[in-house]
Symmetry: C2
Subunit: 490 residues, 2 copies
């Protein structure tokens, strides 16, 4: 490889980019703000997608697909929604090209102008609620528990691979319910699904909470979120679940006949996570040697590298690899044997380290004689000599161990990064050190805005688990009943 990456302490932002590029996760395309997700990066996203999709289905959801384009007028139907979304969008105005009469390629055909412009979906509430209007007649049609895996576009001037791109991949759940209670239950259920996924698959501890009014999704009555902490002390919103009330039902006139024969507006939720999670995953565990992928999401869990001088030695190791392959297969562990003879073992070690393969097995001439292999774990770098008969079991155990260890380390970091702060001076000092600040706030958007302007810190969430205590707003001194979490964020 020889591709050195920056260290976190020297240049965190460069370190992140180096990993994304050098571990073959993604790259910028020539189209402003649109990334190419490379096969290795996409393999991780596929593993995330599979796990989430299974959880959605287990909670009663089904997938469907809605149009990429949204008529411009739909966006203005829900007043708050348009304020939040209508601005930075890709707008389709024409539907045909024609040959340039000057013979220079193609030009847009001015005769093929659309009567109403189409917006490439930045999110699908409007087109979906326009559809639900046709699907919902009575309480018998409810609930509707639909999810969509899709690409969306939000024009961005300053982009970062995975973290902020004009086009990104995501899932968006859109559910319709007969009652407010049911809709809130659903909103909370999906927040729990996201939190469970983050913790069990991404080994990423999160704080569950609700957003302040000014950080709410455009059109929502309440936005629930999970917040994670990156290694540089900045927070990252990893998933949101919105209780939309009857806003979209009213905007698109979606009523249902109740059991009692009345007519009521339908209650709505929406919830989503995106390829942004890839950015969170990368920053959560990786180190100065490269990416670290939790075993449950690793496209490649175990790699074996032969060390040999003779053809005979290679054949010996290859025979062992063949046997191990069967044993790993039986355990559902993905394994590959890298016998590429154009690269040296040292090069391969560095490469798999860079790519974050959780377990590396090496086997040389002495191992062949002794019937052992060297097993290295990516997270700690620890190496062990293991007898052949024990390899499969040892690795199975190790993968679980690594998954747990990554979570434990991240959880410790998170727990140590929440600081209670009681004065404005303390606040300004502490925010420079990174992490979450737990502080009293007077509940006004004005104060929130002032704090943001002064420190770049935003209210990440009002934690669901919070103790009630009397206190005073860290900025204004006005009375407050509980603390909220501030941080600088991605």
């Amino acid at each position: 490889m020889g591709q050195k990456i920056a260290t976190r302490s020297k240049d965190y932002s460069q370190w992140y980019n180096d990993i994304v590029i050098n571990a073959d996760l993604a790259e910028h395309s020539d189209v402003r703000g649109c990334m190419v997700i490379k096969p290795y990066g996409f393999g991780i996203w596929e593993a995330m997608k599979d796990a989430l999709d299974k959880m959605f289905k287990e909670t009663g959801h089904v997938n469907a697909y809605f149009p990429l384009f949204i008529p411009k007028s739909y966006l203005s139907k829900e007043a708050n929604h348009v304020e939040g979304f209508a601005k930075e969008c890709a707008v389709v105005t024409h539907y045909r090209l024609k040959n340039d009469p000057d013979g220079k390629g193609v030009i847009v055909d001015p005769d093929a102008k659309l009567e109403e412009e189409l917006i490439v979906r930045p999110t699908s509430e409007t087109i979906i609620w326009n559809t639900y209007k046709k699907w919902i007649r009575s309480y018998r049609n409810l609930p509707i528990l639909v999810n969509q895996w899709a690409n969306v576009v939000r024009w961005e001037m300053r982009t970062r691979l995975f973290l902020r791109t004009a086009e990104f991949l995501w899932q968006e759940g859109h559910t319709a319910h007969a009652t407010k209670e049911e809709a809130i239950e659903e909103t909370e259920r999906m927040l729990d699904v996201y939190a469970t996924f983050a913790e069990e698959f991404m080994a990423m501890p999160v704080i569950k909470g609700i957003k302040s009014e000014s950080e709410r999704f455009a059109g929502a009555l309440e936005t629930y979120c999970i917040e994670a902490l990156m290694q540089d002390g900045k927070a990252l919103q990893a998933g949101t679940s919105h209780f939309l009330g009857q806003n979209f039902a009213k905007a698109f006139d979606v009523k249902y006949a109740t059991k009692e024969g009345g007519q009521e507006y339908v209650w709505a939720t929406s919830w989503g996570v995106s390829t942004r999670l890839m950015g969170a995953l990368i920053m959560m565990h990786s180190d100065d040697n490269g990416l670290i992928v939790p075993p449950k999401l690793a496209p490649q869990q175990v790699v074996m590298v032969p060390i040999y001088k003779s053809e005979e030695q290679l054949n010996g190791v290859a025979e062992v690899a063949d046997k191990l392959k069967e044993e790993f297969k039986a355990k559902g562990i993905s394994f590959s044997f890298d016998d590429d003879d154009t690269k040296k073992p040292g090069w391969k070690f560095a490469e798999y380290e860079l790519k974050g393969v959780p377990v590396r097995i090496a086997m040389g001439p002495r191992d062949l004689e002794n019937g052992t292999v060297e097993i290295a774990r990516r997270d700690t770098g620890e190496k062990n000599l293991v007898p052949l008969a024990e390899v499969a079991n040892h690795v199975e155990y190790l993968l679980e161990e690594i998954q747990k260890n990554l979570y434990t380390k991240a959880k410790e970091r998170l727990d140590n990064s929440i600081t209670e702060v009681n004065s404005w001076d303390e606040f300004k000092e502490q925010i420079e050190k990174g992490g979450f600040i737990s502080a009293h706030w007077d509940g006004t958007a004005e104060t929130e805005q002032k704090i943001k302007e002064a420190t770049k810190a935003t209210i990440r969430c009002i934690p669901l688990e919070k103790k009630l205590e009397d206190g005073n707003c860290v900025l204004t001194g006005a009375p407050s009943k509980f603390r909220v979490l501030f941080a600088r964020a991605y």
Copy 2:
């Protein structure tokens, strides 16, 4: 339900639409040409996707993701490609909306005009080969075996659900190879994958062949295809695999260092199937009672309907259903028990028939006494009384049987629909009857065009399996060495 569908003999086209709509597969959206794929339809597509994706991976391919947008100038880089694709596209010209100064919603911000327009991908060869240029340096980087699952847009004025829509879902494989032979091998391998998928999963027999020059993909040197025959005697192209030669490598200047130290242009293939396959699947097996889904692609393979007068009877049947559920689960068979008490058994029978659920189990009071259930298969309508202890095994066998039977019936229909024709009069008469016509052709685009104009029949393919025989073109009488297949097509 009460939703009557048209019969095939009376109005084939209406029959197709009725099934798509009434079986809850898809519907038109308010966005011209864009469909909504409903959960039940999407469930079938997901099953197809899963099966195909597995086959792609087994043949060494990986997934990736490339931008939705293509700079306009890219389309003109490959001369033939632009002729075939540049015309009917969705064109993004602006990236921002703003509030209408008159207070009426939002308008396109004239200040946010793109310097170069972006095209919503109609297919991704150009953006992908522009990317491959960065990935390929030497023979060591080859082959690249990448697939993408994506949405694409080709503006269409006349649309039909699944068969022809402006936006559709598909997969597009794009591979890069060091040699011509390897690329051709890949093209043929993927054609075989498609044919195997069509026959084993969709129970849809296909004819493998290559396209005549005028039916070739824009930019390809050779287009391989699989052709299927619908029940109305029209052909449907179900998948294509293109040998692109070095056309795209030359257009995007993608060369690689050979082992011997030279520089060569890279060889390319691309191959794809789309949600159009849903249209083929629907038309392949369904009957005047509704959809028929092959068991391997059915989102719901078995449904059980209780027939009862008392709560006690319902409880008895529900107990049986619980046991069966476990037995089916162990066999990997999807099963649901429909105890919705707002609908009568007769209504449910018709509904599941309409939706094409392969096996229906009914159990009434007498069955409870006798320890039997009634098992009905959707394809033939045949019913059997089966003792409880045998149900799981019987159904497992039945699902295989239905899968086979659907294929056998379709294969018989296909085999009986290929007619050898040796004169122009015969041709004109036969084409009205539908099916494939096997006829000699002089090999010229001119004759092909004349036949098309006279009869609406196109050359579907030059079959891969063909016998060489001397003959005379059915239109011009010019000498010909083998027969090709003509048909009217979707």
